[in-house]
Structure formats: structure tokens, C-alpha cells
């Protein structure tokens, strides 16, 4: 009986928070499309999420491309398939590694910052103050962040695609002795539009989820500094898990026969 009760209450809790999240998402998205808009705030978020994430994302991409070239060389040499390295690098980067790794890095950077900022605004009553100043907090705080996340992570990932391929090129040409022209030709030869596009779609979804988790946990934080701390942790953890799970779903939608 105890056990049933416990399971029941966990289940109820799950339903409540899912409902709350759905409501939060619906409200926020509706405010993205309804005026008034805040272009200034959107621009600030775009710079924060897009521009300032570039160093982190770029570093991640260049090392990943380098490792990928090295690993596939030592593996493929066993059955004389070294010529496939360029293709392996470009497909892995564009389809999987650039969006997922960039997503996880940005979740740590942006998701945490959003949760901390909005959480602090919650516990210091700044969010309450917004509504007494006839300003909707969903529109003012949440909508610009969601939109900026959705737009800017794909931009970051596009840059990461290029830098990642460049990392693989560096290692292949300078360390493994490939002919540069042949390597580039191999890179282009088997690359299809859908490889890049699927990666960018993933990035858009991840960017949205990161911002959503940051805003949601920040918005519902309570209980002073400690509450803001756990909101930050929850935002990063839940965004990371959602990224990995939705990555599977999107991959299946694009590539499963």
C-alpha cells in the first residue's frame, strides 16, 4: 500500500511538472509571435548566445575534427581504407558531433547563466516588479531568449562544421601526409545537403531547449541563493538530457528508413 502511494505521488508530481512545463512553453512561444516586441533585448541575447559562444564552440570543433582524423586513420589503416577519412570526418561533424557537442557546451554556458539571472530576478521580486510595471515577464524575459537560442545555435554549429572539417584537414595533411587537394575533394564528394541541414535542425531544437530549461528553472526558482543554485544545476542537467534524447529522435526522423 505504501509502495503504491509512493509510486502514485511520484507519478502525480511528474504529471504536474510536465503540465507546468507545457503551459510555460505554450505561453512563451505565444509571446514570441505577438507584439509588442523587444528588439533591443533580442539583440542582446543574440550577441550573448551567438557571438560569445563562438570561442568555446570553435575550440570544441577543432579538437574534435583533429581527433576524428587521427582515430579513423589508425582504425582504417587496418583495412586500407584511409581514403574514407575525409568523408568520415565531415559526416560525423555535420550530422552529429558539431550540434551535440556545441549544444552541450552552450547548455553549460548559456543555460546556467539564464537560470541564474532569471532565478535571481525571481527571488529579489524583480519579476513581480515587471508585472506591476505592466510588462509581461514571458514576453520581456523568456521570449527573446527562446528566439535567440533557436536562431543562434544553428549559426554557431555552421561555424563549428567548418572549423571541425578544418581540424581534420590539418591533421590529415600535415601529420598524416595526405594530398590537400585530394582530401578536400573527398570531403565534398559524398557530402549531401541533408547532412548539414539535419545538423542545423538539431542545433535549432537544442538551442530552443537550452533556453527553455534555463528560463523555466530560473522562473520557478524559490528560496533565496540556494534556490537559484539548484535552478542553475537543474537547467544544465535537464537541458543536457533533453539534447541527447531529442538528438536520437531527430536522427531517427531524418535517417531511419
Amino acid at each position: 500500500m505504501r509502495l503504491l502511494q509512493a509510486i502514485g505521488s511520484v507519478f502525480l508530481n511528474f504529471l504536474t511538472s510536465t503540465g507546468r512545463l507545457a503551459l510555460f512553453t505554450g505561453l512563451s512561444v505565444s509571446h514570441i509571435v505577438r507584439p509588442p516586441f523587444y528588439p533591443r533585448l533580442l539583440l542582446r541575447q543574440i550577441i550573448d548566445i551567438g557571438y560569445y559562444s563562438l570561442p568555446v564552440v570553435g575550440l570544441t570543433a577543432v579538437f574534435t575534427g583533429m581527433v576524428l582524423a587521427l582515430q579513423s586513420y589508425s582504425g582504417f589503416a587496418r583495412f586500407n581504407a584511409e581514403s574514407a577519412i575525409a568523408t568520415v570526418v565531415v559526416l560525423s561533424i555535420t550530422r552529429e558531433l558539431a550540434p551535440v557537442l556545441a549544444g552541450l557546451m552552450v547548455a553549460g554556458r548559456i543555460g546556467a547563466a539564464m537560470a541564474a539571472e532569471i532565478g535571481t530576478m525571481r527571488v529579489t521580486e524583480q519579476i513581480d516588479a515587471l508585472s506591476t510595471l505592466s510588462t509581461n515577464p514571458y514576453k520581456y524575459l523568456v521570449a527573446p531568449r527562446l528566439l535567440a537560442g533557436f536562431i543562434m545555435l544553428p549559426c554557431c554549429v555552421l561555424v563549428a562544421d567548418i572549423i571541425g572539417v578544418f581540424g581534420g584537414y590539418l591533421i590529415s595533411v600535415h601529420k598524416l601526409g595526405f594530398n590537400p587537394a585530394v582530401y578536400l575533394k573527398n570531403t565534398w564528394q559524398f557530402l549531401e545537403v541533408i547532412d548539414v541541414v539535419s545538423g542545423l535542425v538539431k542545433a535549432g531544437v537544442f538551442g530552443f531547449l537550452i533556453a527553455l530549461m534555463g528560463c523555466y528553472h530560473g522562473y520557478h526558482s524559490r528560496g533565496g541563493a540556494q534556490g537559484v543554485g539548484s535552478a542553475t544545476t537543474n537547467a544544465v542537467v535537464s537541458a543536457s538530457i533533453l539534447i541527447l534524447a531529442s538528438n536520437y529522435l531527430i536522427t531517427e526522423a531524418f535517417f531511419a528508413q
Binding site: 509588442p36 523587444y38 539571472e117 535571481t120 530576478m121 529579489t124 521580486e125 524583480q126 513581480d128 516588479a129 508585472s131 506591476t132 510595471l133 505592466s134 510588462t135 509581461n136 520581456y140
Partner: protein, 262 residues
């Protein structure tokens, strides 16, 4: 007594958080143009009362009418329209720490009233001057100024859009008595200049006497006494007597024993 119309009419206002019953069928009228102060011990639900009126919290039941218009359950644009009549000074000032002081003050002008930045800035500078802050401070950020100055900026923000009703949540709590005196003076001056109705909540009797035309006492989720401020010492109300004398013995001893919010 007076013929002034009722600006805010609260009837049967009830609000609980789980098992904690904070407001229990509270009734209160605020007359147009008066300054009403609600006094009561800490944790008796004074802030909850204000937050229900301005729409930050939703009551469990009861009615709140502002200018005869029901505001309970009103949300979205309709709520924003109501809130345009209101200004509020929060207990901790609640300034936006990502914005310089003048943008804090000009916030509702730019955001809700859609006034251009240069114009809004002019009004904000005027308001800052009204609360005794120098022009040089306009570009500073809330974290860089004292708590007393933050309250001044919070007051400037509340009055910037020329509201009809002003709410003050513990305006003197957490600052020194001299600054408290100054803030009270500013509140009285600003309310008078705007011709606004004011509702202040506080546990500071000195401040209540300085700001209020009338005083209401809240206890156990209800208003237990209302009267003109000069009648407060002869109220013949045991709750009021205990509160203003700060004595331990009296009807509110249950509160002191820690049974608040039963």
C-alpha cells in the same frame, strides 16, 4: 464620514498556501485620495495582501474592485491596463540590476507606455530629482548605490508614469531611522503632488503615523481595526494597543509563541 468614493474595495479576500491560511475573508476599503496604512506583525500576510491587489498572486476567493471594476481573475492585456493605474515600491526595492538607474525609472514609460527613449529619459531625470538624487547618478547601476538610495529609485520608478494608486511595501524597513524619515517625507510629498491614493503596509509605527491618514490593523488574516491615525492611541482595541506598545502580554501572544499562520 467623508463623501470620498471608494478607490479599492476588498471583500472576503481569502488566500492560503497549502495548510497555511494567510488571509481569511479580509474586508478593506481604501478611499480615493487618502493614505491608508495597514499595520501588523511580521508574517501576518501584509505583503500577500498587496500582491493579491496588484495581481502578482491570485486570491483563492473574494473580490477586489478598483474604481468599481473587478480585478480578481483579470489577466493579460486587461490586467496590464489596470496596472497602468498603479505604482508599487517593493520591500527590497526590486530594481532591475541589469539596467542603469534612469532606465529603471523610465521602465514602464518605455515598455508599457511606448514612449521614446530620449523623452522617457527626460521624465526619469525629473523623477530622480524629485526623490533627491543627483543627475550624476542616472547612469549608475542599482548594485552600486546604498539601500536607502535604492528605495528612492524604487519610489521614483513607482511614480514615473503618474499612477492613480501607489502601494508601498515596508518603505522604511531595513534602513536607518534618519533615512526612514526622509523616505516617509518623500512618500507624503509624492503622493500629494500626484493627488494619488496610497496604500502602505508596515510594522513601523513611527512611519505609519507620518504617512497615514487612516490606519488599519491586520491580524490572523483579517482587519481587526480601522480608524483615523490620530485616534490610534485611544482606539480601545486590545490588538492595536498591544501592537503600538510592543508588549508581550495581550491577545496576540499566540503569535509571539510562534503559532503564526495556523
Amino acid at each position: 464620514m467623508s463623501a470620498a468614493p471608494i478607490k479599492i474595495a476588498i471583500r472576503g479576500l481569502t488566500k492560503s498556501f497549502g495548510e497555511k491560511h494567510i488571509l481569511r475573508a479580509l474586508d478593506l476599503d481604501v478611499r480615493a485620495g487618502e493614505s491608508l496604512v495597514v499595520i501588523g506583525a511580521s508574517g501576518t500576510g501584509k505583503s500577500v495582501l498587496l500582491k493579491n491587489i496588484v495581481g502578482i498572486l491570485t486570491p483563492d476567493s473574494g473580490s477586489i474592485k478598483i474604481d468599481g471594476e473587478e480585478v480578481v481573475g483579470v489577466t493579460g492585456h486587461a490586467r496590464d491596463r489596470v496596472n497602468r493605474k498603479l505604482g508599487m515600491l517593493f520591500q527590497g526595492a526590486a530594481l532591475f540590476d541589469s539596467l542603469p538607474l534612469w532606465e529603471n525609472v523610465a521602465f514602464s514609460l518605455m515598455s508599457a507606455h511606448r514612449i521614446g527613449r530620449p523623452e522617457a529619459r527626460k521624465v526619469a531625470m525629473e523623477c530622480l530629482k524629485q526623490v533627491g538624487l543627483q543627475k550624476e547618478n542616472a547612469e549608475r547601476f542599482p548594485a552600486d548605490i546604498s539601500v536607502g538610495a535604492q528605495k528612492r529609485v524604487g519610489l521614483a520608478r513607482a511614480i514615473a508614469s503618474g499612477p492613480e494608486i501607489l502601494f508601498f511595501d515596508e518603505p522604511t524597513t531595513g534602513i536607518d531611522p534618519v533615512m526612514g524619515d526622509v523616505i516617509d517625507g518623500l512618500i507624503v510629498k509624492c503622493v500629494k503632488e500626484l493627488g494619488a491614493t496610497a496604500l502602505t503596509i508596515t510594522h513601523d509605527m513611527e512611519s505609519a503615523r507620518r504617512i497615514g491618514d487612516r490606519v488599519a490593523m491586520i491580524y490572523e488574516g483579517k482587519i481587526v481595526w480601522v480608524g483615523d491615525v490620530d485616534r490610534i492611541d485611544s482606539s480601545d482595541n486590545e490588538y492595536v494597543d498591544q501592537f503600538i506598545n510592543g508588549s508581550i502580554d495581550g491577545p496576540m501572544s499566540a503569535l509571539i509563541a510562534g503559532n503564526e499562520g495556523r
